[in-house]
Every structure is written in structure tokens, then in C-alpha cells.
Amino acid sequence: MFSVLSVKDMVTIYIDSKPYEVKPDQNLLQACLTLGFDLPYFCWHPAMHSVGACRQCAVKLFKDEKDTRGRIVMSCMTPVAEGMRLSVDDAEARSFRASVIEWLMLNHPHDCPVCDEGGECHLQDMTVMTGHVYRRKRFPKRTHRNQYLGPFVNHEMNRCIQCYRCVRFYRGIAGGRDLNVFSCHDNVYFGRHEDGALESEFSGNLVEVCPTGVFTDKTLKRHYTRKWDLQTAPSVCVHCGVGCNTIAGERYGSLRRILNRHHRDVNSYFLCDRGRFGYEFVNSEKRIRSATCLPFSASGGKPHGEESRKIGKQAAVDQITKILASAKGVIGIGSPRASLETNFLLRKLVGPENFFAGLSDTEHRLVARIVAILREGPARTPSLQDIRAADAVLVLGEDAPNTAPLLALAIRQSVRNKQFEIAAKMRLPAWDDNAVRNSGAGARSPLFVATPYATRIDDIALRAFRADPVGIARLGFAIAREIEPSAPELPLAADGTGQDIPALAREIAAFLKAAKHPVIVSGTGCLNEQVLAAAANISRALCLAGPSAQLSFVLPECNTLGSGLLGGRTLDEAFTRMQDGLADTVIIAENDLYRRAGRREVDAFFRKARHVIVLDHLRNPTVERAEIVLPAATFAESSGTLVSSEARAQRFFQVFLAEGDVQAGWEWFDDLQRSMGKQPPGSETRLDDVTALLGREFPLLAPASSAAPPASFRVAGQKIPRQSHRFSGRTAMTAGADVHEPKPADDADTALAYSMEGHEGAPPPALTPRYWSPGWNSVQALGKSPQETGEETNSGESGVRLIEPTGSAPGYIGPETIGSEDWEATVAPPRYRIFGSEELSMQAPAIAEMARRAEDIPRQATGGNASHE
């Protein structure tokens, strides 16, 4: 399935005298790992390639069949070649590897029992693998002082083995500047020049990149749990529209941590700090755990200042049924941060004509435009992998590092393609990291950043252009005209920025035209439709002119595009309907309306509403206005489907059973439908049924059903266990309350089980609850499954793309077709912050702390959707 290369493209190498077919562009280490050999290594990393720093991956290489002496080489620095003969098992190579571990361990502290890496430590695994058991060194150990690195990452320098992975990631991949290697000889020190929070928004990846316990997750430390004790499930990040794949882990009813789940086309090996550390909102004090109701509401009117009381699941459903039956008109307001299923069942409950998407009005308009552009335009939305492969990128109006961090990281990786190009010309292998960097000598593929404010990718941009949204749109229109003269024009008024738009447009157009894989990145960030039109026109012009341009729109929330595809009316209409008395009851699903519209309008709306029913996870201003509050499950306590900005539908899976009355939004709405008699009693609605029904009503969303294997999926007749085979405490964890252990819960919605029992091997990527392979307990086990070594990872069926362009659009978008409000920029465009602009992650203490720090720097405007205030 994963062999797109024909056998001719493969070379034969002999490992311990047995022939194997391998891909020619690999190094020996990659080849051996792909073939399933247990070859220890430290400094090689599939995303950071080889530098040959640790000397751990030694194998013996022979000249030919007759050569019996051979020589030791570093497998990660040796390209494979036809007919090559090597030995992994050779006694000398083995003892060399054992000695290397012994040297690395000379000064290693006696820390494993109190080390957060323990149990998922690559160093532990490699030490066991090479058979180094006893310390022979009698002399004192070298020690280091640790640094304070902020609320995300813990530092314990004594455990370092000098593999240089941390600085290679932090500086070489993430573009950070404040982590480096200091000192000399065997004293080298990896840290900052002084104590202080790490500045890069990708600092959390150090936790996974570092093969030892030097960098560990500080948020995990506060509720520490070993990897084997976590109940885990594959999930999708809910903190922006990129839709990174994650693994979420729970213990004792609270969410403990987020790890990266590899997806070649999306996040690959990395996550941003908002996604990695934002999870703690799930454990927040502000969580709503029980269904509550204000007293006497049945008698009509909404009493103020009364304490609401807990009424329980069934009573809540009954009461809402009563309210809905007698309502004069019901409005349902969905949410871009709720799953497709939740939005869809709310829409079914209230009827399509009464369903409102729940986006702010500006956003609603922009998203509708984006959906149209993506469906009808000639340009395809690139996956993050496509962006990483781009050879020219134009960012038009989007502060990607703050609104779509991983997309910004993909852009940062794309500018290195020039280096790879130069290296390829010099016949250097792409995996030889130092050689590639030296030969490239800092060469970069062209990147242009046109945004209202400075961004954190300006440092790698060929040109950064600052203007208000209209100025940015002007530049965009001008670029399109430069590429293809029939593109429409936006009159070039003096924009006051003093920048020469025509010259810049000419330069950008030339680079884009010369590129083979140009990518245009725009988004809703500027809140301006002209900017979107400009981006669409550029991509259209490029497609007409030749190269296959791709067009990516950044959307703010995890299911904004899903909301856009489901349609629904605007919030403004909902407000009008209530004011006109056409409706008196409103059901709001996982949405804080105060983030979507001005305070006065929302207040007026609630004042007019007779019954307000709100479903959400956390207390927020909207919940405060509700008569009946239903507790909704977060991403960790429910399963569902989200549509990322790339238009990729991805399934997130329930990690643990929620306490109290908490259940998924779609389960609440199903209960309500049932109690209103809209569903045959006795029947059961499962997740797959909802997704299938959704597909029937929205053909465009039909592929969402295959975003992940269905609930009936089995491997060798078995489900995928959420618990590791070493999961501990099963007969003691609940014994404090009741000595009789409960029966493990069934999961009828998914192919995962709340159990240690089930299929042990590697499940399909969309169902991967953890990475583990015999002898490989760390995240490096990812490299052990045959399809997933190196960049050639085959991610299989993990998520599906919903939109492929039809090219049916009649032509360019004329600027005059866009409402006048986007012609003149009267308000300053919002400023976004990776920590602070997103609602849910701000309830995580570590993120809130970082946001407070950023707060100290004076700023002009608030970010996020609150910009309507």
C-alpha cells in the first residue's frame, strides 16, 4: 500500500548477510529502523535529520563479501548504496554501542524514580537495549544548576547526554533565539543566557524532542502520571483552526497532558504551546458539571438574582421539552468551537430555518466568502505538508504565528527549501543536516509577509509590508494584475504608508510566477473581505499563468469551517427575530455570545428572550444569563468531528468518562429530540448514526463519516485499548469509595475501549492512542512502525479532505462586489496573541500566566473575536 516506488527505484543492501530492499535516498539508520531493526540512536530525528553527534548508531560496514574485518561507521551519516553489506549484530559494533552508552551515563544522576521522563525515556530504552547495566565509574559526577524556563517547560540539566536535539529544534526548526548551548568540553550546557520563560511558542516540543528528562512538561508535573498509567485516546487540538492531531491522556478523572500525534499532512512531529498546554481548561474550576435551573421558571418570566439549583439530567430534559412545546418560536445558536455533530443535531432540533451558525456577523460574511472561494476557485487548499514543500509563500493579512501557529511553523520550514535545492544540486543527501545548512549558507526561499502588525516570521521574510487591511488588499489586487493583466484593479490611492505598492507588487508577482509550488496564505484575521478577494485573485491569476498555486485561509476556531459548511443564519438575524417577537426561546450550544457581538446587543437579546437555555463546558457571561444550563462535554469527554481550515474533517475521540450530568452536546440534543417524540423511543443514536445522517443532508460533508474508522472497526476481532498493557491501580483506584470494582464502561460510539485489553499492535493512525513498541517506551516508538519512519510516513486514513476546487467560478472577484464597509478601514484591525486570543486555552493556568506576561507589554487593541466591543 505504501510502496509508490517500483522495485527498480529500490536498492538492495545486505544486513547481517540477508538482502533487504530499501529506498535509495535514506541513510542506513533510517533504513534499519524502517526494516524493524532495534538500532539505538539519539541525535537523529526524523524531522531534524542526521548530524552524527552522539555516536550511538554505530554499525559495521564491509567492503564486499570477502571483507571480514569491516569498519565501524555511524549509520545515520552513511547513505545507503546498492549492494552495501553491513552488520548490526556484529560483536564489535555492539560493544562500541554499549561503550557509548556507558560514557553517556558516566555523570548521569540517579534520578529515574523521580524523573518525569521515566517510563517513556529514550535514554532508558537505549540503555536497556545495549545491555549497559552497572556503573563502573567510581569518581564523582559532574553536576549542573537548572534554570527557570517559564510555566511550560521544566529544566533538569544533569540528565543531558549532549545530543544537541534541543538547540537544533529550537533554533534550526522553530527559529527561536533564546535557547542555546553554552560552555565548553564536557561542561556544555543547554539553556538560556539567564533564567526566564522560553520565548518561542513551540517551546513545548522540547519535551518530546529531548530524549532524556532535561526538558519535561511542567504542567504534567503538577499532576504527574507515568505514561503507562494514562488512559489515552487520539484527539484533535481545539485551540485554533489548524487541527493538529494530538494524544490526550487522563488519570483519576482529570486530563493530564497532550502529546503530539504524528500526521504527515498536518502537524507532522510538532505542536504549538497553546495546543500542548491549553488542555487544562478541561480541569478548570469553572467547569459546569450538573444541569441547573433557575427556580420557578415554569411559571414564566426570568427571575433575577435567584440561585440556580441542580435538577439532574432527566428533569432538565423534561423541563426543556415543556418549554419548547409552549414556545412561540425557538432559536438555536450553534458554535464554531462545537463539533459538526453537535451543531447538526441542534439544527435538527430547532429546524434549519431557526438555526444560526453563531459566528460574529463579520466572520459569518468572511467565512461564507471563503467557502465560496475554496469550492469554486481553481486553487486548492494546501495541507501543512504542501506548505512545507512550497518554494514561495505570500502571507496576505494574516498574523499566522498568533492565529495558526503550526501553519507559521510550516512556512518557516518552507523557506529552507532553497537550501535543499542548493544541496541537491551539489548532490548532498537531504538528511545530512549540517551539510545542507552549510551549502545553503542561509539561502531562503522567498517569503513575503503583508500584515497590519509585525509578525514573528518577519525575520525570515524577503520583504515585510505593513499597512491597514485596505492597503494589504490593494497590494494583493496589484499583485494579481501583475501576474495576469486581466485581473481587476483596486484603485491605488495614496495609502500613507510611504511604501511603493506597484514596485513591491511587481517583485512579489515575479517570485510567485517563478515558483513551482507557490502558496498564498490569508485568513479572517484582518476582518476584511477585500483581503480575501485579493488572495483569491492572486491564486486565480497564478493558476491561469501556469504554476499550480495553492490558497490557504486561516480560520480562528477548530470548527469554523465546519460551521461555514453547515450554513445557518447570521447572529444579527437572530437578534432581529427576538426583538420582533418572532421567537421567545433560545438554545445556545457551546458559544459565548459576548465574544461574537457587542455587549449592548447581546444584553438586549437576552432581556427580550423568555427562556434562555445554554449548553457549555465553562461558566462564561452567556452562561450567567441562562435559565437552564446544560453541562457539555469537552473534547476529552466526547467524540465528534471537526473541520480544519484546510477543510479536513478529523475525528476526536473520547478520552474518559465525564462525571456528573456532563455529556456531549449531540447527546443532549438527541435526548431532547427523543423526549419531544421526534425519535422513535427505544432506538439508540450513536455517533456514527449522527455523522451518517449529517452526510445525507449535506452531501459535501458526507466524507466526514470516513474521517476515522467506524465504531464497528476491529483488528483481529478486537477493539483498540485506551489503556496500556501496564496500566496500574485498576483494583485500587476506586476502592477508596467502594471496594467492589465497577465493570469497565462500554463504548458503543467508537472502536476504542476503556480497557487494557484489545489489539496490541499499531492501529490505524486515526485510532492511535499511544506510541509503543516492544523495547521502545518513549515517543520514539513512532519510528518503529514500518510505515512511519522518517518523512515518508504514510498517515493512512486519518481525516478526509472535504473540498477540492471545481474551478467553476466565473472569474475574478471584482472589488466592487464587496460591501462598502471593507473599503475604508475605520477601526484598527485586531491584534492577535497566541496566548490570550483563544477562549478555552485562557482557562489553563500556564497559558493564562504567559498571557499576563505579554499583557505587561503595552498593546493597542484586544485580540480575538472580542474586537467588536
Partner: protein, 171 residues
């Protein structure tokens, strides 16, 4: 016939043998210190809790009857916030003691744990933690480990050098 006589003879001879049955509970048997009975958590020579909440005992337990949660005091010393053993499940195999890197968890020669109610066999940390060192004297994990905890800085553990001066470039 012959076998009956043989049996009678055996009984007769055995009557004059030394008795092994003792009058428990008035009389108590000798149990060696390494007998595997009721589990305790011990303290280090400084009187501090030895358990560092590493979760190795719970992972080793074949019946999964140990559950705990790690916590850290303000000086960075790790300890179990709760530690529970469900003795109604425990099979006294001693794997936990074998797995423990700190000598914290130890089995003792006490088997008198009969209860009428099963739930009384669920022991929490306050039921498990004793005030002494148990069978193994003198060992303190934190004196060996490289972690800085209250009262012990970097470079002050056994066999450690003073922390290196990162700013120095001397060979």
C-alpha cells in the same frame, strides 16, 4: 489387612514425635523478617517519607491493587499525595517491594489481617506509613539522587562535584 496394621503403626509412632502445631493465638510462631505479609511504607533515616511516588510498585503489582498519586512539596521533594493498597486483592507476591527503588514499600511478617468487612481491607497512606525504616536501615534515596530537594542543593548528593561554572572556559 497388612495396610491397616501399617497405618496403626504409623499413628502409634507419630504420637511420640515432637509437635509442630502450636496453640495460636496464645502461642506465636516465629516468622523470618523477610516473610511476606502486611505491606508498610517506611521512612528514611531522617524520618522523612521514603516513598518518592515513582509508580513502580503499582506497575509491578500483578493484581493492580496499588494506586497512588505523585505530589511535590515546595522544595521539590516528591511524595505520594495518596497511597492506597486494596489488601482484599493483594496476593502478597512481594513484587512491589522488589520494584521499589527506595526501600519504601516493604512486606512484613504480619498476617493477622482478618476482617469481617471487605472494605476494611482498603488501606490508605495513614494506615501504611510506619515511623521507622523497616527492614532496610540507612538508605535515603534523595541523598543519592541528583535532584535538589529541601536541605540538599546541586552537587551535595553522594559522589557529586560542585556544579560547574558554565561561564568558565578553562580546560
Amino acid at each position: 489387612m497388612l495396610s491397616i496394621l501399617k497405618s496403626l503403626w504409623t499413628v502409634l509412632v507419630t504420637m511420640f514425635r515432637k509437635r509442630v502445631t502450636i496453640q495460636y493465638p496464645e502461642e506465636r510462631p516465629y516468622l523470618p523478617p523477610r516473610w511476606r505479609g502486611r505491606i508498610i511504607l517506611s521512612r528514611d533515616p531522617d524520618g522523612k517519607e521514603r516513598c518518592v511516588a515513582c509508580h513502580l510498585c503499582s506497575a509491578a503489582c500483578p493484581v493492580d491493587c496499588i494506586a497512588l498519586q505523585a505530589a511535590e512539596d515546595e522544595t521539590g521533594r516528591r511524595y505520594p499525595a495518596f497511597f492506597r493498597i486494596n489488601f482484599s486483592r493483594c496476593i502478597f507476591c512481594g513484587y512491589c517491594e522488589e520494584a521499589c527503588p527506595t526501600y519504601a514499600i516493604q512486606l512484613t511478617p504480619d498476617f493477622e489481617m482478618g476482617e469481617y468487612l471487605r472494605k476494611n481491607l482498603v488501606y490508605e497512606k495513614e494506615n501504611l506509613l510506619i515511623s521507622g525504616q523497616g527492614k532496610y536501615h540507612g538508605y535515603s534515596f534523595y541523598r543519592v539522587a541528583g535532584l535538589a530537594v529541601g536541605g540538599k542543593d546541586k552537587g551535595e548528593a553522594q559522589n557529586e562535584e560542585k556544579p560547574v561554572d558554565v561561564k568558565s572556559l578553562l580546560p
